[in-house]
Subunit: 245 residues, 2 copies
Amino acid sequence: MSGEQEPGTGLAAVVVGAVRSRHAFEDCVERLATAIRLGVYPHGTALPPERELAVALGVSRATLREAIAGLRAAGMVATTRGRGGGTVVLHEPATPGEGGRARLRGRRDELLDDLVFRRVVEPGAVQVAAGRTLSPAERTLVADSLAEVAAATDPAEHRQADSRLHLALATVTGSPRLVEAVTTVQSGLHDMLVAIPVLRVNLEHSSAQHAAIVAAVLDGDGARARREMERHCDDTAALLRGLLD
Amino acid sequence: MSGEQEPGTGLAAVVVGAVRSRHAFEDCVERLATAIRLGVYPHGTALPPERELAVALGVSRATLREAIAGLRAAGMVATTRGRGGGTVVLHEPATPGEGGRARLRGRRDELLDDLVFRRVVEPGAVQVAAGRTLSPAERTLVADSLAEVAAATDPAEHRQADSRLHLALATVTGSPRLVEAVTTVQSGLHDMLVAIPVLRVNLEHSSAQHAAIVAAVLDGDGARARREMERHCDDTAALLRGLLD
DNA sequence: CTGCATTGGTCTGAGGCCGGACCATTGACG
DNA sequence: CGTCAATGGTCCGGCCTCAGACCAATGCAG
């Protein structure tokens, strides 16, 4: 062997990464903005009360409020007071192909890594999901999410429904870490997908794959679910790699 | 479909997770302690200079120093001043089977999730690694790491060499996110593995699997690498699940 | 032996974040 | 129609974190 004196050489630099990125409220802005863009909080719905949301995000109410102020300044939400009030989502889902390319500037490496990581995480997730005994509620969540994707006519709504389906599939794995991984992956993916126009052919292709994946998961066929999701990821990635030149 | 009024129901609670855990210096303590336990900084070696390490961890030097003070208080490192000085690792690698069970208390769900996530991430990582054209340095890193595992006679050293091999395999994927995922996965895994005694049979079994995985990666055979790693993960998990009752 | 580069140790002022108490507004409900 | 629960808005004291400058110890190079 050659690295005997320094057994850890080369690992340390990679393993010890950043522990704190920017400011807490900036993290909150990003998390919430992502959730809104992905359709976790669709247009017109209300965010949870501040006190509740602050706890969920593990942040003080003051910090959360600063984040919400940021979203408000960006025109993504509007806030009203009093009972029955709250912060409601104004943000219109982004229509693929209409601008959005600005969000990709200088993120080439990060987004390419996103595609690599996705190809590992999402197929793995559906395999896990298929291997579990799903509750009726979980089966319904997945089936409904698929139906919403199929029913969406507007490209913008379709894009959000697609994200929600993938998140729903992650949710029914029952693994918090898989949910988190898929969430971040979908965030980057979303930024790329809204930067290119959708073709009718691609949509139909994608829908067929979604149906196959969900069917396999509900059948409990892990190997098939994984295989279908791998193809789905590969096809999407092929579509997107050209973007990043 | 049934969830039409609230398309996001069920997702929000899972997708919006904590953004900031505890204090920054506590995160640093944990990161560094993990790196030391896993053998990224082996016994007797020195940590990078404070100013450098602070940048790597994305934290101010003051905060990093507080973290190092914690490690020093725990007897894991010793610090000397002046040129040629620095913070050196005192921590002796933990011998599997000797106590260590205390670290598992109340972490049942988290550790079970670790095994699930690992089964997704590590096989995926070796598949990616095998699919890349590895540089000579990368091939050497992996081959050396394997040789160190085989050469280790002491169970404690073997345990660290094992972790380093898995981290090395993650490193040569070239994907920062895969490295991070494998690092956290190995951290939880390590806590479980030091809680059980090692059997000679298991070690030999494990070594054979390591060799097969590395061979497949160096051959560029992604499917085989994945398959071998899946078996490796499954076997380890079977050994560990009994722990968590 | 001297000079000085390297590395840890200390201090300070500014700003972030927390947690909690309290205020203001609104609409649901009796 | 009045009450009051729910919800956002404001403020304060205290701890944490940062960035940078400066001090102290040590040992290598000349």
